[in-house]
């Protein structure tokens, strides 16, 4: 099944002399159970594409469809709700809520998504176990190591059982060894659940853990390789 269709998406910032074309006619498809690497240097438009796919930015032209839902047709409010229930995010630099424990950083999704609290709590405990964080569940982010924080962030992205996981530079603040472990873990968690995932990275070494790589340069998707 097709999990995501990005159809001829263009994103332009500013106008006239200040116009910046961040995305040019980008077209992309992603299947269920597929983990894709979006590879490009800084300023290539990969974050803009991830933002448009996640409903955080509206494209100037083109459409984004996730599952059966045309995301670009939804209102801002509906897009927010859609993200809460059907898109998981893993941000660069962990970005956990600093005053919530590891477990609470996952269960906070019970207040945000429409899933019943008991369901979120059960899934949070199961994820913490799978991610090897059961002993650290009551620790605050400042008490966790970099790798543990990133694992909590992965857990938060998965806890509401979304169909698409968007990952932004997961290795940016980790050393190579830890970065590799985190990406391996991400790939295994996404694949084992049959989800679709897109990982933005500029680190060529990480693409081997994904099913496919798409390169982006100056807002254009250059090639796709299996």
């Amino acid at each position: 099944m097709t999990a995501l269709i990005v159809d001829d998406v263009t994103k332009v910032y500013g106008s006239g002399h200040t116009e910046v074309r961040a995305l040019c006619h980008a077209t992309l498809e992603l299947r269920d159970n597929e983990f894709l690497a979006l590879l490009g240097p800084s300023g290539s438009g990969k974050t803009t594409l991830l933002s448009v796919i996640g409903g955080l930015l509206s494209p100037t032209e083109g459409t984004v469809t996730i599952g059966e839902t045309a995301l670009t047709e939804l209102s801002k409010k509906e897009q927010t709700r859609f993200r809460a229930n059907r898109v998981g995010f893993v941000f660069q630099g962990f970005n956990l809520v600093p005053f919530l424990t590891a477990r609470e950083n996952l269960t906070v999704m019970a207040s945000i998504s429409d899933a019943p609290r008991a369901e979120i709590e059960d899934r949070a405990d199961q994820l913490l176990d799978e991610l090897g964080l059961t002993d650290r569940r009551d620790n605050l982010p400042e008490e966790l190591s970099g790798g543990e924080r990133q694992r909590v962030a992965i857990g938060r992205a998965l806890v509401s059982d979304p169909e698409l996981i968007l990952v932004d530079e997961p290795t940016a603040s980790l050393d190579t060894e830890l970065g590799t472990q985190v990406v391996q873990l991400l790939a295994s968690e996404i694949k084992s659940r049959g989800k679709a995932g897109i990982m933005v990275t500029h680190d060529l070494r990480m693409v081997e853990y994904t099913d496919r790589t798409v390169r982006i340069l100056d807002g254009e998707l250059l090639d796709a390789s299996d």
Binding site: T47, L50, S51, G54, L56, L57, K77, T80, R81, F82, R83, A84, N85, V87, G88, F89, F91, Q92, G93, N95, V97, P98, F99, L100, E104, T107, V108, M109, A110, S111, I112, S113, L140, R156, D168, E169, A172
Partner: protein, 374 residues
């Protein structure tokens, strides 16, 4: 809600500082309000405790019990006016009294026993009977000066001691303790202490009136003034506000209290503006993962509510602690009604302060969560 509560629980130092700031302002406001209420109650008890609907003054008395003077013979004319259900007489004599060698200011108030104008707040003993001389009811505050039932109060310049046969509560006049005697006793004490008042015949200084059921006070007042020609009849509320300094005190304290509440709002607004600025990245992340604006704004409101309620409770406790150590001479009165009003005002100002940060939260762009900006 989980987020809002966890933030307070785990960032105790920060929230303690805002709660402390609110508590300090609430403490100041409660003390100011208690002083305002204390001054008002201490100044106006004599008029409030009579439960009169209005007071008739001489026109040239300009609503002052001390300046006004009315021939006692006019009382029957007032009582006979249509709509007047009951009419009494009041006279005030500001004097100095002594007990056990201690001197203190006292207001001796003459009244007609059984008629309107007599305090309705009897707390102990009995009121003087009509015509009974040299006995009186003391305000309960005189107990602090060692006066009991059966004590004699001797006014400076008088040879006639007045025996205390009863106590009334909340019947002070312009912060002076009061002694309520019959109009005859008042007159004889006045002649003794203010000899210049002799020879003016029997007078009262105001006629308190109670109007008949269904009658309109303004109409009755106009009828009284028209019939007597030399009077000004006002409602008891107007008479209270005309007491020297009462209205000015009330408006001064109200202004200070209102300004203090504006400060509560500003403190909360600044606090939330600062923490919103600091949490920009975190709020962007929460929005990106699907938190709606309304969820985040509800959290801010809940936090403002908790901070203001906790600040109020702390400020309230501090004000009561201070009340325990204040000397009795400081006229503070902590009224439940005032505490309730100030509680609501604190909550409202907290909410207003929090609402001012809403625009800032709404404008945080969830897209800034990606690309390492957050």
């Amino acid at each position: 809600m989980q987020l809002a509560l966890a933030e307070i629980r785990r960032r105790r130092g920060r929230w303690a500082s805002i709660i402390g700031a609110i508590a300090f302002i609430v403490f100041l406001v409660l003390i100011l309000a208690a002083l305002a209420d204390g001054l008002f109650i201490g100044s106006t008890g004599a008029l409030r405790s009579s439960e009169a609907d209005g007071l008739v003054y001489s026109a040239d008395g300009r609503r002052s019990l001390v300046r006004s003077e009315l021939p006692i013979d006019d009382l029957s004319s007032v009582a006979a006016i249509d709509g007047v259900a009951d009419a009494g007489a009041l006279g005030v004599l500001l004097a100095t009294a002594a007990t056990d060698g201690d001197l203190f200011d006292i207001a001796v108030i003459g009244h007609l026993p059984g008629a309107v104008g007599e305090p309705t707040t009897l707390a102990d003993g009995r009121p003087p009977s009509p015509g009974e001389r040299h006995v009186g009811m003391a305000d309960l505050s005189l107990r602090d000066k060692g006066i009991e039932l059966g004590s004699f109060v001797l006014l400076t310049g008088s040879a006639q001691p007045v025996e205390v046969i009863g106590f009334v509560s909340d019947a002070r006049y312009l912060l002076a303790d009061t002694l309520w005697v019959t109009l005859e006793t008042w007159e004889s004490l006045r002649f003794e202490i203010r000899p210049e008042t002799r020879g003016r015949g029997s007078v009262a200084q105001a006629f308190p009136i109670r109007i008949a059921e269904g009658a309109d006070l303004e109409t009755v007042a106009a009828a009284v003034d028209a019939a007597l020609g030399t009077t000004e009849t006002v409602s008891t509320d107007q008479a209270i506000l005309s007491l020297p300094g009462v209205e000015q005190q009330a408006s001064t304290f109200t202004a200070i209290i209102v300004v203090s509440f504006i400060v509560v709002g500003i403190v909360i607004a600044l606090f939330f503006a600062l923490i919103t600025l600091e949490k920009r990245g975190q709020l962007a992340i929460l929005k990106a993962i699907g938190s709606s604006n309304s969820l985040l704004l509800r959290g801010v409101l809940v936090q403002a509510l908790i901070a203001t309620v906790a600040g109020y409770v702390l400020g309230f406790g501090l004000s009561r602690l201070l009340a325990l150590v204040l000397p009795p001479a400081v006229p503070v009165e902590f009224l439940a009604g005032t505490a309730r009003t100030l509680f609501l005002a604190t909550i409202v100002m907290g909410a207003v302060g929090a609402v001012l940060s809403f625009r800032r939260i709404i404008h945080i762009d969830p897209a800034s969560a990606l690309g390492g900006e957050a």
